[in-house]
C-alpha cells in the first residue's frame, strides 16, 4: 500500500494526464457511433430542450452561488425553498382567482415578513417607534395588496405572496439556523442545510400534502396566439419536426431575464456592490462601514427569492412535485462546473448541465441516464480535472 501510494504520489501529474487522455479516447470511441446513429432532427431537438432546461438550472445555480459568495455556505435546502415558494404561489394563485384569499394568512405572512425585515439588526428594533410605524404601514400595504379583489389580479398577488414567502423563508433560515453556526466547521454547516431540507420537507407536507400540482401560469400565452407546443418543420436536412414546449420556452426566457436582473443588481446597485464587497472580504467590508450582518441576511433573502422564482418557473414548465429538490441537487454540478464564486459560471454551468442531461436521455433511452446519472458524472469529471471550475478562483487548498 505504502509503496504504491508513494510511486503514485511521485508521478501524480503524468499518471493522471495519461489517464485523462485514455479516458477521453475511450469515451469518444464509445459515444461517436451512438451520436452518428441518431437522426439529425432528434439531436437538434435535444440540444434545444437541453438549453431550455439549462436556463432553469442556471437560475437555481445562481441562488446557490449567491449564498456561497456571501456566507460560505452551500445550501442543500435550495430545492425545498423552491418548492415552498412555488406552493405559496400556487395557494395565492388559486385562492385569489376564486376571491377567497384568507385574511389571516395574508396578514400573518405580511406581518412576519415585516418583523423579520425590521429586526435584521437585532430584536431591539421592535422597541423603536419609527420601526413600529414602518411595521404597521408595511403590513397594511402588503396584506391590503394581497386581499384586494379584482379581475386578473391573481398573477400579481400570487407573485407578491411568493416573494413575501421567499424573503420570510430566507430571513428566518439565516437568523435561526445559519447565524448561530458562524465559526463552526464546514461539517456543521452542511448538516444544518440538510436538516433544513428535512424541516422544509415536513412543512410542505404538513400544509400541502404530497401532491403533484401543474401550475397553470402560462395559459395566458395561448390567448396571445402563440401555439402550444411550437412546431418547427426541419425541412430536408433535418428530416423531422422539432417540437418545443411553449411553457419551457417561456420559463427559459423568464429565467434568463431574472438572471440578468439579478446580475445587474449585483453589478450596478449599491446594495449589490456592498454584497459583493462583503463576499470578497468580510473584515474589510466592515471596516469601510458596511453592515455585514444585514448584508448576510439580504443575501439569504435574495437567494430564497431566487429559489421562489425558480420554483414558480419550474412549476409552470412541468409541475410542483417532490422531484423539485432532486432537480435542485442537479444544479450543484452546474455550480461546480462554472466555479463556486462565478455568477457567469452559474449560467454556463447550468446550460451545460441541461445539454448533457438531454443528450444523455437521447443516447441512452429508457434508463433515466440524463436526469439521474449524467450531471453527477460531469461532477466527478470536473472534480477530477478542474476542481475550481471553468471560471472559479483558484483558491482551493490542495493537500
Amino acid at each position: 500500500m505504502a509503496t504504491i501510494t508513494r510511486t503514485f504520489n511521485n508521478n501524480r501529474r503524468s499518471i493522471t494526464t495519461g489517464l485523462y487522455v485514455v479516458a477521453v479516447v475511450l469515451a469518444l470511441i464509445w459515444l461517436l457511433p451512438l451520436i452518428g446513429g441518431q437522426r439529425p432532427y432528434r439531436l437538434v431537438q435535444s440540444t434545444i430542450t437541453g438549453l431550455l432546461v439549462g436556463g432553469i438550472y442556471a437560475l437555481i445555480a445562481l441562488g446557490i452561488v449567491v449564498i456561497n459568495k456571501a456566507s460560505g455556505v452551500f445550501n442543500f435546502a435550495h430545492g425545498w425553498m423552491m418548492l415552498l415558494g412555488g406552493l405559496i404561489f400556487y395557494s395565492f394563485f388559486t385562492s385569489s382567482a376564486a376571491g377567497t384569499v384568507s385574511p389571516a394568512a395574508a396578514v400573518a405572512l405580511s406581518l412576519l415578513t415585516m418583523i423579520m425585515v425590521i429586526t435584521t439588526n437585532g430584536w431591539r428594533q421592535l422597541m423603536q417607534p419609527r420601526s413600529l410605524a414602518i411595521l404597521v404601514i408595511g403590513t397594511a400595504v402588503f396584506s391590503g395588496a394581497l386581499l384586494i379583489t379584482g379581475a386578473n389580479l391573481q398573477f400579481v398577488q400570487a407573485l407578491l405572496g411568493a416573494a413575501l414567502g421567499g424573503v420570510l423563508t430566507g430571513l428566518v433560515v439565516e437568523r435561526f439556523t445559519i447565524r448561530p453556526l458562524i465559526g463552526q466547521p464546514l461539517f456543521a454547516m452542511v448538516l444544518m442545510t440538510l436538516a433544513l431540507s428535512e424541516l422544509l420537507h415536513g412543512i410542505t407536507q404538513l400544509i400541502w400534502g404530497s401532491v403533484e400540482i401543474p401550475l397553470q401560469v402560462f395559459t395566458g400565452v395561448a390567448q396571445l396566439g402563440i401555439p402550444s407546443p411550437i412546431r418547427i418543420d426541419g425541412g430536408e436536412t433535418l428530416a423531422g419536426t422539432i417540437i418545443i414546449r411553449t411553457e419551457l420556452l417561456i420559463a427559459f426566457i423568464l429565467a434568463l431575464l431574472a438572471f440578468g436582473g439579478f446580475v445587474a443588481f449585483f453589478r450596478y446597485t449599491s446594495a449589490g456592490l456592498s454584497m459583493r464587497a462583503t463576499a470578497e472580504n468580510q473584515k474589510l467590508a466592515q471596516s469601510v462601514g458596511l453592515r455585514v450582518r444585514t448584508i448576510l441576511a439580504v443575501a439569504w433573502a435574495i437567494a430564497a427569492l431566487l429559489a421562489a422564482v425558480a420554483g414558480v418557473l419550474q412549476g409552470g414548465a412541468t409541475s410542483l412535485s417532490l422531484n423539485m429538490p432532486l432537480l435542485a441537487l442537479r444544479a450543484f454540478p452546474a455550480v461546480l462546473l462554472g466555479g463556486l464564486e462565478s455568477i457567469g459560471g452559474a449560467l454556463v454551468g447550468g446550460l451545460v448541465i441541461g445539454l448533457v442531461q438531454e443528450w444523455a436521455n437521447l443516447l441512452f433511452p429508457g434508463s433515466q441516464a440524463g436526469t439521474e446519472l449524467a450531471p453527477y458524472v460531469v461532477l466527478m469529471i470536473v472534480l477530477a480535472i478542474r476542481p475550481d471550475g471553468l471560471f472559479g478562483q483558484k483558491r482551493i487548498e490542495r493537500i
Binding site: 500500500m1 505504502a2 501510494t5 508513494r6 504520489n9 501524480r12 452551500f74 384568507s102 394568512a105 439556523t177 448561530p180 453556526l181 463552526q184 464546514l186 461539517f187 456543521a188 452542511v190 448538516l191 444544518m192 440538510l194 436538516a195 433544513l196 431540507s197 428535512e198 424541516l199 422544509l200 420537507h201 415536513g202 412543512i203 407536507q205 404538513l206 400544509i207 400541502w208 400534502g209 404530497s210 441537487l329 450543484f332 454540478p333 461546480l336 463556486l340 434508463s367 433515466q368 441516464a369 439521474e372 446519472l373 453527477y376 458524472v377 461532477l379 466527478m380 472534480l383 477530477a384 476542481p387 482551493i396 487548498e397 490542495r398 493537500i399
Partner: protein, 370 residues
C-alpha cells in the same frame, strides 16, 4: 476527552492494564453482564424457545435494526468522526453490500458465511474508488464527490444491473443456514447480528487507538500538520474510506439477510442524511456516539412521532386550520427529525456521547464540582 478518572486506589501496574478497555473489575463485569443480558432478551419473548412472554416481541426487531445501523454509523464515525471527511454516500455503500451479498447468495450459490466477508471487501473496494477524489479535493468538494456516489451507485444498480438486482422491484434474499439449521425465524438472526455488532464496535474502538487511528485524528485536526509530521495523508484517507465502506457493506449484508427482501428505496439520499444525523446526534468522534445516535433517532421516528400523530390530528387543526392531516406521519417525521438535528447542532454539537462523558465525570468526582 474521554474520562480517565478512576476510583481511588485503582493503579496500573503493567502496560497491559494501562491499555485495557475496561480498567476496573466493575467495568468489566458491567460490560460482560450487559452483553449476556442482550443475548438473553430473545429467550424472554413469546416466540422464544420457552414462550415466556415477559418482554414484547417487537423489541427483537427493534434491537436488530438498531444493531445493524450501529454498524453502519460506526463506519461513518471512522470516516467522519475520526478522519474528518464528510460523506453523503454512506447509504449507497450499504446498498453495494446488500446487493452484492444478495447476488452472491442467489446467483453464485454462496452461503451467507462466505458472502458476508466477500461483500464487505467488495464494498470496501468500491469505497476506495469513491475515496480517490480525496487525493485532490477536500471539504465541500469531497462532499460533492460523495454526493455523486450516492446518485451513481443506485443508478448502476437500478438500470444496467437490472437482470441481477431486479431494478426498482424488491429482491428476495435466502435466509442463512449453518450446518443445516436455518436462520429463517425472526429471532435467529439476532444471534448473528448482535455479537457481530458488538465485535465491530470494539474493533472500531481499537482501530482508533492504534497508529492508524491516531493518524486519522491528526488528519481531522489539521491535515497540513499531519502531512508535515510524515503521515501519508492520502493513504490514511483511503484507509478510512475503505474501513468506512467495509462497515457499511457488513451492515448492508446483514440487512439483506435479516429482512430477506431488499429494495433500492431504503438506500437513497435520505438514508445517508439520516445516518449523518444519527452520528451528529450521538456524537461524532466518540466510540459510543453511534449507539446513542441510532437509539435516539430510532426512538424519535418509531415511538415519539407516531405517538404525537393522534394528538396533533385532534388539536392542531383547531389552531391552524390549514394543516393537511391526510398523512400526518409522513409530514411530522421529517419535520421533527430536522428540528431535532437543528437543535443538536446549535445546542449540543458534540452530541449525546459528550453529555454522557460529562455526566460520568460528574458522577465519579461527586461531591466535588471539579
Amino acid at each position: 476527552m474521554s474520562a480517565n478518572i478512576r476510583p481511588s486506589g485503582v493503579f496500573d501496574t503493567s502496560y497491559a492494564q494501562d491499555i485495557a478497555l475496561n480498567r476496573t473489575r466493575f467495568d468489566r463485569l458491567l460490560a460482560n453482564g450487559l452483553f449476556v443480558l442482550l443475548l438473553l432478551i430473545p429467550l424472554l419473548t413469546l416466540e422464544g424457545p420457552f414462550g415466556l412472554n415477559i418482554l414484547p416481541q417487537l423489541w427483537i426487531g427493534t434491537i436488530m435494526r438498531i444493531a445493524i445501523f450501529v454498524i453502519a454509523v460506526q463506519g461513518l464515525n471512522i470516516l467522519v468522526g475520526y478522519t474528518g471527511q464528510i460523506s453523503l454516500g454512506h447509504a449507497a455503500f450499504m446498498a453495494v453490500g446488500a446487493y452484492s451479498s444478495a447476488i452472491m447468495a442467489r446467483h453464485l450459490g454462496m452461503s451467507f458465511w462466505l458472502a458476508l466477508p466477500l461483500s464487505a471487501l467488495f464494498t470496501g473496494a468500491v469505497g476506495l474508488i469513491f475515496g480517490l477524489p480525496s487525493l485532490r479535493v477536500k471539504g465541500f468538494y469531497l462532499v460533492m464527490a460523495t454526493l455523486a456516489a450516492q446518485f451513481i451507485i443506485p443508478w448502476l444498480l437500478r438500470y444496467p444491473l437490472e437482470p441481477l438486482t431486479n431494478g426498482s422491484r424488491p429482491l428476495d434474499v435466502p435466509a442463512p443456514t449453518l450446518f443445516g439449521l436455518s436462520f429463517a425465524s425472526t429471532g435467529a438472526m439476532y444471534y448473528i447480528i448482535i455479537p457481530l455488532s458488538v465485535f465491530l464496535c470494539l474493533a472500531a474502538r481499537n482501530i482508533t487507538r492504534t497508529r492508524v487511528g491516531r493518524a486519522f485524528v491528526s488528519i481531522r485536526d489539521n491535515d497540513l500538520a499531519a502531512e508535515l509530521l510524515g503521515i501519508n495523508v492520502f493513504a490514511y484517507k483511503l484507509q478510512a474510506f475503505f474501513l468506512s465502506a467495509l462497515y457499511a457493506g457488513i451492515a448492508g449484508c446483514l440487512m439483506a439477510f435479516d429482512t430477506n427482501n431488499i429494495t433500492l428505496d431504503s438506500f437513497l439520499l435520505d438514508s445517508s442524511i439520516t445516518m449523518l444525523a444519527m452520528l451528529v446526534i450521538g456524537g461524532a468522534g466518540y466510540p459510543l456516539g453511534p449507539l446513542f445516535g441510532v437509539a435516539f433517532v430510532n426512538l424519535l421516528t418509531q415511538n415519539i412521532i407516531p405517538a404525537l400523530v393522534v394528538p396533533v390530528r385532534d388539536f392542531v387543526p383547531r389552531v391552524l386550520p390549514f394543516i393537511n392531516t391526510v398523512n400526518l406521519y409522513a409530514a411530522l417525521s421529517p419535520l421533527l427529525f430536522g428540528l431535532a438535528l437543528m437543535v443538536f447542532l446549535i445546542v449540543a454539537p458534540r452530541g449525546l456521547a459528550h453529555r454522557w462523558e460529562i455526566f460520568k465525570i460528574a458522577w465519579k468526582i461527586r461531591p466535588f464540582s471539579h
